[in-house]
Symmetry: C2
Subunit: 388 residues, 2 copies
């Protein structure tokens, strides 16, 4: 049976070049980058090389890149680190309603700890309105955080315009963007976006799990989330995961080099898949029709449950997702689809295909051949569908 | 020139068996453990296998083991997670004065955020007195955290007695121990220690960097440090670093199997090195003479600076440390040695040799041949030494 992996948003294989670069750091150059003796030298140089590679990917300075263990850690560091550090100046944070759970739940945690959070709504395409974000900014607002592109519906947000309007409403408000789905995938530049903090993760562009980064603009006041030694300029304690960071660096370099080809390839597959899927009766694209990630196809299928579709697709060798990966086992209606105004029943029929470099037009053709009978079969079992 | 690595506390090479086990999870079994399709299966099973391996190492139940990215993260999660979650019940935490920076600085951060911390002193051997810890417990005390064995002077604390006395002083007080230097090195059992939380890290027993764990006794109230999805029972968000966790599991299993042999080998080398070093004029052992880690030799050398010794040792192919790794580049007097009552000048002469399985009696003999002339040479340049 043909195997078609269309869940790159959940996980990607590490690029061979990245893995090859990592290997010497497990046993040969195993030293601690902080060590004063010779064993510290190669790991220390490797860290700084990776920092430069990541900095180049997003147009940052090297010293503005802080390594973390995951995109979620970077997001938590941004929200909690900034709010904790600046608590005397204010306790209000603004986020959108379609943030990743690492942002959303950080905001909820801050609320529990005596902070205040505003959740700005989105339109039916998942777009955040910069004016609404600016309107949510108050005298005590310290930070605004909006996801660069939704991991569930792929909509790309006007971050630059949001940052501009927020900062013209109140000077000094910090702007963070969760760019985990965009950095390494589409062009991302911290100065063009006008952000003070930006999260990225290597496993979103063929780097290993276990290495991610938070960009922190020079001069930004932030408290560590993980206190410890003097690693990462004192902003993130704990021995650096040198092999994973080396892999992240190589993956960042490759992503930058190959980005135009990757984007062209993914967009072509995406458009082919969207056209085929939405040709099926009562299958609707979610997210923005044009301002969307090159590799993300998200739909809702009326009268069918996402989980049932996933199981039948899996039986046909096709791996996909429903809602976000983090909630796929939580069996809750996606907060993102709810924010888009979809009713709970329709949101249950969510399906997300995330494409990768190794996917082909034949893969997409196979999905489009296998999927319609699956929908038909499941709908045949749905009492709601029969009545309609 | 002979190369003698005696800085295993700072970093260790990953065991070949652990690395071999990790490799398939980078590119072959690369999936996300949360995925509902087939690609999630192997990573999910690997995670749970590693969880069982780690649980066995410390006598815990599998569901009480929560993976983190580093020992520092585990320590931060323990302190901040417990204090944040239980803030309504009390805001007081008790730690010792010789904690690792990830505990010490977490306590200082909690102070900044409106919590209260007590730092219990130690005796000249670095021993914490259980009675003094219990005496520090107040009505509003939520958590006591004492390091199981110091990473700087190797003293092993009477954690079981501390837990017993603390809990008899106030029922319900939680006890955490930072067992990063002991788990995988000497026998550690959460029930025998009587702790509610315990931190361990794979890179302290030949596992990879990037994987560690916090033991959380069932029923313990704790807030995530890293909010996110439903990974790790909702207590630690972020995609799991499956390869590193697999390596941690194998390393835990090997550590458990080989522990008696490793301890015997390390203790013999340790005693040989201590005997040789303390035979040098005005070189003093720091930490406890008997209740100490099998592989840790810590001394202070009067009239000599630690950094100068490290450089000359390094020129002779010997890698060692001064104070803790996290402070070795911070050039501050070690808070641990200061807590032991050493004056700042003497503390500057700190030297830490941490032994590993691959070290031999010949390695130790080489150090004992090379080191005395280094001390002599440096003292010859010291105006203080000449005067004395």
């Amino acid at each position: 049976m043909r195997q078609v992996y269309l869940d790159h948003m959940a996980a990607m294989p590490v690029r061979q070049e990245a893995l090859d670069a990592m290997l010497p750091y497990f046993r040969e150059h195993f030293g601690n980058p902080l060590s004063l003796h010779d064993y510290g030298e190669a790991p220390r140089e490797a860290l700084e090389k990776a920092r430069a590679q990541v900095a180049r990917l997003i147009g940052a300075q090297e010293r503005e890149v802080y390594f973390t263990s995951s995109g979620s850690e970077a997001n938590n560091l941004a929200l909690k680190g900034v709010m904790f550090q600046n608590a005397k100046q204010g306790k209000h944070v603004v986020v959108s309603q379609i943030e990743h759970h690492s942002i959303l739940n950080s905001a909820l945690t801050l609320q529990k700890l005596g902070y205040d959070a505003t959740f700005v709504p989105v339109d039916q395409h998942g777009l955040v309105d910069p004016e609404q974000v600016a309107a949510a900014v108050r005298d005590d607002t310290i930070l605004v955080s909006v996801i660069h592109a939704s991991n569930e519906v792929g909509t790309i947000q006007p971050i630059a315009e949001i940052a501009r309007q927020v900062k013209s409403k109140k000077k000094g408000v910090l702007v963070h963007t969760d760019a985990i789905q965009t950095a390494g995938t589409i062009p991302v530049n911290v100065d063009e976006l006008g952000v003070d903090l930006l999260s990225l993760a290597g496993n979103a562009f063929y780097g290993p799990k276990g290495a991610a980064a938070l960009y922190i603009r020079r001069g930004t006041r932030i408290m560590p989330l993980i206190d410890g030694g003097i690693q990462e300029g004192g902003r993130r304690g704990g021995t650096e995961d040198v092999p994973a960071i080396v892999g992240l660096g190589i993956a960042a370099e490759l992503a930058q080099q190959e980005m135009p080809q990757r984007m062209a390839h993914l967009s072509a597959l995406r458009d082919q898949l969207i056209a085929g899927l939405t040709a099926i009766d009562r299958v609707y694209l979610t997210g923005h029709p044009t301002a969307r990630l090159p590799g993300l196809v998200s739909v809702v299928v009326e009268y069918v449950e996402g989980e049932a579709m996933l199981l039948l697709l899996n039986m046909n060798g096709i791996a996909a997702s429903s809602g976000s990966t983090c909630t796929s086992r939580a069996l809750k209606a996606s907060h993102v689809l709810t924010a888009l105004g979809l009713d709970a029943a329709l949101a249950q029929g969510s399906l997300v295909f995330s494409l990768g470099m190794d996917n082909s037009h034949e893969d997409v053709a196979y999905v489009l051949q296998v999927f319609p009978p699956i929908v038909e079969r499941l709908r045949a079992m749905s009492p709601l569908y029969k009545k309609s």
